[in-house]
């Protein structure tokens, strides 16, 4: 990549012993990704990561929607940290970009306004009897994946290359705003062009698409989406990004923020309904992956085990390009092997997808 | 008796054509008059106005008294052509009656009587008529010669620029120039062959008779009459489409005007009479400052009327006019040039969005209470000294005043009107009228001559006396309500167009100035005063052009070497102030400074 500026913005990432904080959206909309993350770290990389059943939501969505007050969220965050300490860890990693922003923001606030830290310490003590212990390092899970990208590449079963043409896949990477736009130093590569996903893509053989609206927000914006009257603005943001990336004919989008992953995926359906516009080759939509899914595919995980059937835009065309062997019928089978039913065909991908299946048979 | 010869055919055809064409125009124009106008005609038909109109026709259409007064040589030219020709026809008519008694003679019999005399064996010549007719012919020929001369050297005729004409004008003009010389030749040849003792045709005939053999004379005889008849016929055919239509338009116009018909802000059929009454004499060109100062030569009233008549009026020509009224002041036909100009601009109808003027409802920024209302005008907020001075004066005389727009008001509407946005202007008019009525004022004083003219001409403010502040000040001083000190200072006064020519207010400001100091007049003043160039009526000329007009006008004011330049219009004030280093003040300031304690 011509952009070399990312090297100016580096941060220390611990090599091992992580305390894992989950993401509300990720575990609800594509729980396979979190499972895959834990599996990759534990099984493929042999890293110690602790998934604590005691931890809770960071309440960030409520906070950004003016529902949860600052004191509350600080105390919740303080509790997560103390849980980490109790579990014997000091490297806190968060699966959610919103949470990641929250943890950084709370820590910075404590730093700038020590009285808030004191107050939080008191609240935590009064409410839970726990002591606040601040983590040694904070990282987003994509940072961890980035940190180990070369190790993953060494174990890769396939690269991000179109098996039919031999060309690298064109990948649009989308970074959640709260990853580095709040604190440029909190992200790898700074706030303008974070390198965290681009680094993985390049390490695994793909090509990063540098398109004009690359830095633009997906439009989630909490109140922008949560209040129906504002949703027109929310979808307009994704629309703008999709319009901007479309000429580059990307093979897929990868995002590190659970909200963005969901919105860039699902808005494609809404745009198709509202506007009649469909993106991607033959209007089949541009598949949107989480970086865990991308890593999982590279490492040869089964796409349905990764939970890729949860996507709005069907991923089969991408799987075909990657040369992934998969069973089309298995897509709609539950863990018990029983058919869970298939969703209604929708504007964004119904006709074409059925055609692809027929071709493959 | 025979009164037909083949050569008369062009004349007869031309005459019939002319008659039909003119009649058609008249009938169409009258028929299309709006009901109000037709009612006015019916109402005023039997009135003194009609008699006055007849007298005016004689004075203006035949004698051209107005042009005479302005430029005797030019007046003589027009008079000799119009009145001379008229007398030729009338006297010619009497001549045939004298020769032949009251007998039914066709038209060509009268016109070509000299030709038909020998044909019908009339040999006796009555010297009185011979001489009279020759004298009249000479009169007309003098006019033609002057017209030729004017084409070649307009300056010598007291006109810096002569009108540029259209094709029909050129045809008609050429034909006209040849009619009378042709008649002279034809009648002289007749005299040479058949005798005649007029001092002109007889002498010339005798001379030709001696010079040329009879065979040549007989060969030339018929062609000469053919040529004369053809020139007449051609002129008559071209006439309704040329500027000479003014001859047959001015007469009904004079009557209609006496019956109180006027052009309005909307175009109407009456405008045809005004537009086609223009003879394109070009007198309006010289006073135009756009021509004099900016070298713009296509927009003057004569060209504007011409373009409008032939439906080739461009928006630029219509808009490029200061509407200073200098041309209107000199127009010999008295055409309402300003109003016609305005209604030419108003050809676009503009259907306003229903909510457009909603902001006007319940808007009232006025303050104070009193029977006298003061409307400073939009521009006056850029010359606050005027407002302050008026307030001081009001205070000094103890006048209870209602201030209509001290805190910003709604425009009087005239600027919109001048730009042809009549519909929008009416909204402003309605708003302000309602405002004045609501506050029950009986006198309305304004510091802006534009507003003044608007209130007088476009508002219906019955029961409210509308005054310019100079008039109001004059009255205060005359009535002894305001005593002022007579000072040593001298003032050179600039007549604002809308106040002077527009509203006929010339004397009041002068009296006011003379009450406080010495009045000095610039070279052009009163009806002849120059425009400052910033006129709202013109949306075409640029800033630099405005400045050029203002500079020349201001120079004349400076040349009076007065201590200060005084004007009575905020717009003129601004224009003068940017063109000079002299002190420029409004008349209200002059008074306010000289209030006797």
């Amino acid at each position: 990549m011509r952009r070399a500026s990312w090297q100016e913005y580096q941060k220390d990432i611990a090599d091992d012993k992580y305390y894992y904080a989950r993401s509300c959206i990720r575990q609800n909309f594509f729980p396979g990704s979190e499972k895959a993350f834990l599996d990759i770290l534990t099984n493929n990389l042999g890293i110690d990561i602790y998934d604590d059943p005691l931890h809770t939501s960071c309440t960030g969505i409520g906070y950004h929607s003016d529902v949860v007050p600052l004191e509350t969220i600080m105390t919740v965050v303080a509790r997560q940290f103390s849980l980490m300490a109790e579990a014997g860890y000091e490297n806190f990693i968060s699966s959610c970009i919103t949470s990641f922003g929250i943890y950084n923001e709370v820590l910075a606030t404590w730093e700038e306004f020590p009285e808030t830290e004191e107050r939080t310490r008191r609240y935590l003590k009064e409410a839970t009897g726990r002591e606040l212990v601040k983590p040694r390092s904070i990282a987003h899970t994509s940072d961890i994946m980035f940190h180990h990208r070369h190790a993953i590449a060494r174990q890769a079963k396939r690269r991000l290359i179109n098996v039919h043409t031999g060309e690298p896949l064109k990948v649009v990477e989308h970074i959640g705003c709260h990853y580095a736009k709040i604190f440029p130093k909190s992200g790898i590569g700074g706030s303008e062009f974070p390198y965290v996903l681009a680094g993985m893509i390049e390490a695994w053989g793909g090509d990063v698409v540098d398109y004009p609206e690359r830095r633009h927000c997906c439009g989630f914006g909490f109140r922008n989406y949560l209040v129906q009257a504002n949703r027109g603005s929310s979808i307009a943001n994704s629309h703008k990004k999709l319009e901007s990336m479309a000429p580059y004919k990307p093979d897929f989008i990868v995002a590190n923020c659970p909200g963005c992953t969901m919105f860039l995926d699902k808005w494609q359906y809404a745009i198709a309904e509202m506007d009649g516009t469909t993106y991607g080759a033959d209007g089949r939509g541009i598949p949107v992956l989480s970086y865990e899914e991308m890593a999982g595919l590279v490492l040869g995980y089964d796409p349905w085990k990764l939970g890729m059937q949860f996507h709005q835009v069907d991923v089969e065309p991408l799987l075909d390009k990657l040369g992934v062997e998969y069973s089309p019928e298995a897509k709609y089978l539950g863990p018990d092997g029983k058919h869970i039913g298939r969703p209604r065909d929708v504007a964004v991908n119904c006709e074409e997808v059925r055609r692809i299946y027929e071709i493959r048979r | 008796m025979t009164f037909f010869a083949p050569f008369t055919i062009p004349f007869i055809v031309g005459t019939i054509f002319l008659f039909v064409a003119v009649a058609t125009k008249w009938i169409l124009w009258i028929a299309r008059l709006p009901k109000v106008d037709r009612r006015l005609i019916a109402h005023n038909f039997f009135s003194l106005g009609t008699l006055a109109a007849i007298w005016e026709v004689v004075r203006e259409s035949l004698l051209h008294a107005k042009i005479f007064r302005r430029n005797p040589l030019l007046g003589f030219m027009h008079m000799s052509l119009a009145f001379g020709w008229f007398l030729l026809i009338v006297v010619g008519w009497i001549e045939t009656i004298v020769y032949l008694g009251f007998e039914m003679i066709p038209l060509q019999g009268h016109v070509f009587f000299k030709y038909f005399m020998p044909l019908n064996g009339i040999e006796a010549h009555i010297p009185l008529f011979e001489q009279l007719m020759d004298a009249l012919l000479l009169l007309v020929l003098t006019g033609v010669a002057l017209a030729w001369f004017k084409r070649i050297a307009s300056k010598a005729m007291g006109m810096r620029r002569a009108t540029k004409h259209v094709l029909f004008d050129r045809i008609a003009l050429s034909a006209l120039w040849f009619i009378f010389p042709a008649r002279l030749v034809a009648e002289s040849l007749t005299a040479a062959l058949y005798g005649g003792n007029g001092f002109l045709t007889g002498t010339l005939g005798g001379f030709i008779g001696e010079l040329l053999p009879t065979e040549v004379l007989t060969t030339l005889y018929e062609p000469a009459w053919w040529f004369y008849s053809s020139a007449l016929g051609l002129f008559f055919v071209a006439m309704p489409f040329s500027r000479y239509m003014h001859i047959f338009t001015e007469i009904p116009l004079i009557f209609l005007r006496r019956w109180r018909l006027r052009p309005t802000l909307e175009r109407k059929s009456y405008d045809n009479f005004e537009v086609e009454a223009c003879s394109r004499c070009g007198i309006c060109i010289d006073p135009c400052q756009l021509q004099e100062d900016l070298g713009i030569h296509d927009t003057q009233s004569v060209y504007f009327l011409r373009d409008r008549r032939y439906n080739m009026l461009s928006l630029k020509v219509a808009n490029n006019c200061l509407m200073c009224g200098r041309c209107e002041a000199v127009c010999p036909v008295g055409i309402n040039l300003t109003t016609l100009r305005i209604n030419s601009r108003a050809k676009r109808r503009n259907i306003p969005h229903e909510g457009r003027y909603r902001y006007l409802t319940s808007l009232d920024r006025s303050s104070g209470e009193g029977k006298v209302g003061y409307f400073a005008g939009c521009m006056s907020s850029l010359t606050p000294a005027v407002q302050h001075s008026m307030e001081r004066i009001f205070e000094a005389v103890g006048e209870a005043v209602w201030y209509a727009d001290k805190d910003g008001g709604v425009c009087c509407g005239r600027p919109l009107m001048l730009s042809g946005e009549t519909d929008a202007a009416r909204k402003m008019v309605a708003y302000n009228t309602d405002l004045f009525r609501r506050h029950e004022i009986t006198t309305l004083v304004t510091s802006c001559p534009i507003c003044l003219r608007s209130f007088r001409e476009n508002y219906h403010l019955d029961g409210i006396e509308v005054l310019h502040h100079s008039q109001y000040l004059d009255r205060l001083i005359a009535e002894g309500r305001l005593s002022v000190k007579q000072g040593e200072e001298s003032y050179s006064y600039h007549d604002p167009c809308e106040l002077g020519r527009g509203s006929e207010v010339y004397d009041e400001p002068r009296r006011v100035i003379e009450a406080v100091g010495e009045l000095r007049e610039p070279r052009h003043s009163r009806r002849d005063a120059l425009c400052c160039g910033s006129s709202l009526a013109n949306t075409v000329i640029g800033d630099e052009q405005q400045l050029r007009i203002a500079r020349r006008m201001t120079r004349e004011l400076e040349e009076t070497a007065a201590d200060a330049i005084v004007t009575a219009c905020p717009l003129c004030h601004k224009a003068i102030a940017r063109s000079t280093h002299h002190t420029v003040v409004d008349i209200a300031e002059v008074v306010a400074r000289n209030i006797a304690e």
Partner: protein
Amino acid sequence: MSTLNFGYGINRPRAIDLDNNDLRKSNAIIAEMPELQACIGCGSCTASCTAGAITNFNFRKLHTAVRRGEYRGVYEELSKCMLCGKCRLVCPRGINTRGLVMLIKRKLGDF
């Protein structure tokens, strides 16, 4: 097309899009009166404006929008102008503002 009622649509971007705006009218206006380009945005016109004192009429903003190819609503908004000419008296760049109002209305008008 959509049979679903989402209760919202894709918002039109607020941004002036100079790539897609039709600049032909704006170019024609500038070609006729190039002095419009000389505006330095001082706001004197709007500050002195008679109509601006009683409505939110803003000539400076309007003609700037027109120059960027944003014509929506301009004609109607411009009709608030009373053509009083104060703006022309105060313009430091000597722009024939009244002429411009007329010109823009003519080019964008619904006459």
